[in-house]
Assembly symmetry: C2
Homo-oligomer: 352 residues x 2
């Protein structure tokens, strides 16, 4: 951990961005569990790089986390600081990235209310991402209103920061379409450009599979490796990894396609050439799953050890985490409040 | 108009309520047009009385007005001060009643977001009031999300003030049921009483018909008499009133049932015995519609003259209206903010 506390740096943030581009990046996570290797590959690594070149805000989406967890709110509240510690542990620097908490930004709730009048229920029901989430969560007709309408709330998040670039997986593209529809409707009502359309920033990394190779990563399935996983948890997760079910004897040729161990080696092993050699060996026979798993485990242990240590240190000083989140939220409150004033002006509601 | 400005009285409000009951009343109007005689009979008269006995807040619901007027927002924004002037003109006293503007109370938007997670879309679609409004507005599947979900926003309004008594027409009872469902769900999550259930205060007055006797009162139908109607407008509205279509000659017996002139005489004429005499005369024949309309017109002219004058005076000093609304909104912002803190506590979100 740095000697100079992050919080002091954070206050200088606004003045430090002179060398950055004009792109404004908004990204974030639902605070419904600690972050894992899937997040690391899919977005966290990218954010650590992006913070050096762009104005980046990360929103800890506690309110969105509640849209399908209102009856178990601890799942959200207990994970807010975990997620912040995850960010810091992988190298997100609050002097370069504003980290804020959604529930601390009332303007986002107000924007959501105004935008709700510009989007029909039929349009929300057609959203492919929400459709498939509703199916996978088994909501059917008992969808909480907050869940069906969360794309409107996301539009409030994105436009509330005038974000121009939003890192997403391709399954999230319908969310940006919905946001840009709202932007166009509002600008058309205003007769001028009040809000900015955003573009997706698609990650180069392909989606990391779960350790079981078939289900979506989920805490309850126990098929993820969290950034704060202990040595033992890492060892056991790798041991249980899905490989090639037809690779019964070491001397048999094995398949690397769909073999989670090799997918993880591709994603995390620093020496690509060495991984290629291993693949060739495995395919022609003579390389056992025990050996490949041992290589992967060593690689993950080495990578996650410093992250775990930093994470533990950060979590041991909750006051500092809260300070970082408070400072970031304060900066963000002002930004989003200004956008709200502009949107209320379109509706003629700045009379007081 | 009183010599002492309302605004000075308004600041003393909190300390003046010692003689009032513990009931907290929330009422209000969508700011989508000037108020008319239907509002006067159905609620304004009652509010003028209630303010002497209870803590009463009137919410000018501009955000709710936008739920079906987002593409014509001037309909809302241009009527906010008209509605406040209507209140003052009929005798609502800002020293006794807090008058506030919905869009000035961010906590209401935030409460709406939290409550949205406790209500399903199916439940909203079953709401009989919303159902019939959707039909009458011809929305079908293109209902704005904000419109379908406005009962949640109303629940935020009511609970945001800990209102215990809500004056409503019986068509609005489903709204209070929805509110109380949310209250019970939230209290059950909290394991204690955070929010209060509310009771309806049903008006004794029967609903005033429109001047055409068949359609719902509406500005576009031109079948209302606004509180600020000119002498000429009152005269013409009474002239065009629906009577008994079979009462062709003065000497014929006429019917008073469904005869709008008599319904209005019942509602507004100060001498009930005289109205009964007129009815008997009309029913046995010999009393012409011209005469009954003349009697009604005189009565309405007399009643509306001072209201119209006061309304004009109030509207000539917009700064004072804005001051009243600002003061009331400031008081209300604090109250609703406290409820928000309590609700966020249930979800564990007061960590910063």
């Amino acid at each position: 951990m740095n000697d100079q506390p992050f919080t002091n740096q954070a206050t200088n943030q606004a003045t430090k961005q002179s060398t950055k581009t004009a792109e404004i990046i908004l990204t974030g996570d639902r605070a419904t569990g600690p972050l894992h290797l899937g997040h690391y590959v899919g977005s966290l690594k990218q954010r650590v790089d992006l913070q050096n070149h762009h104005q980046q805000t990360i929103l800890v989406a506690d309110m969105q986390g509640l849209t399908d967890n209102a009856h178990n709110p601890t799942k959200v509240s207990s994970n807010i600081l975990n997620v912040v510690a995850d960010y810091l542990a992988v190298g997100i620097n609050p002097a370069k990235t504003t980290i804020c908490l959604q529930s601390q930004l009332p303007a986002l709730a107000e924007l959501t209310m105004y935008y709700s009048n510009l989007v029909t229920i039929a349009r929300l029901e057609r959203n492919p991402t929400v459709k498939s989430e509703i199916q996978s969560k088994g909501f059917e007709r008992s969808i909480p209103a907050g869940f069906l309408t969360y794309p409107i709330s996301q539009a409030a998040d994105i436009t509330g920061f005038h974000a121009t670039l939003v890192p997403v997986g391709d399954d999230q593209l319908p969310m940006l379409e919905q946001t840009n529809e709202i932007v166009r409707k509002l600008n058309s009502l205003a007769g001028k450009k009040i809000l900015k359309e955003c573009r997706p920033l698609l990650s180069n990394a392909s989606r990391l599979p779960s350790t079981d190779g078939k289900n979506k990563m989920s805490k309850t399935m126990g098929n993820t490796i969290n950034l704060g996983a202990s040595e033992k948890e890492i060892r056991e997760a790798v041991k249980s990894m899905y490989t090639d079910p037809n690779h019964l004897r070491i001397e048999d040729p094995g398949s690397v396609d769909g073999n989670v161990v090799f997918t993880y080696l591709d994603a995390f092993h620093p020496e690509a050439a060495y991984v290629e050699e291993l693949k060739a060996h495995y395919q022609r026979g003579g390389l056992g799953d025990g050996t490949t798993k041992k290589i992967l485990e060593e690689c993950l242990q080495e990578m996650l050890r410093p992250i775990r240590q930093k994470r533990t240190e950060f979590l041991s000083d909750k006051a500092q985490l809260i300070e970082i989140l408070s400072k970031g939220s304060e900066i963000s409150r002002e930004k989003t409040q200004q956008v709200l004033v502009d949107v209320k002006e379109v509706f003629g509601l700045n009379i007081l």
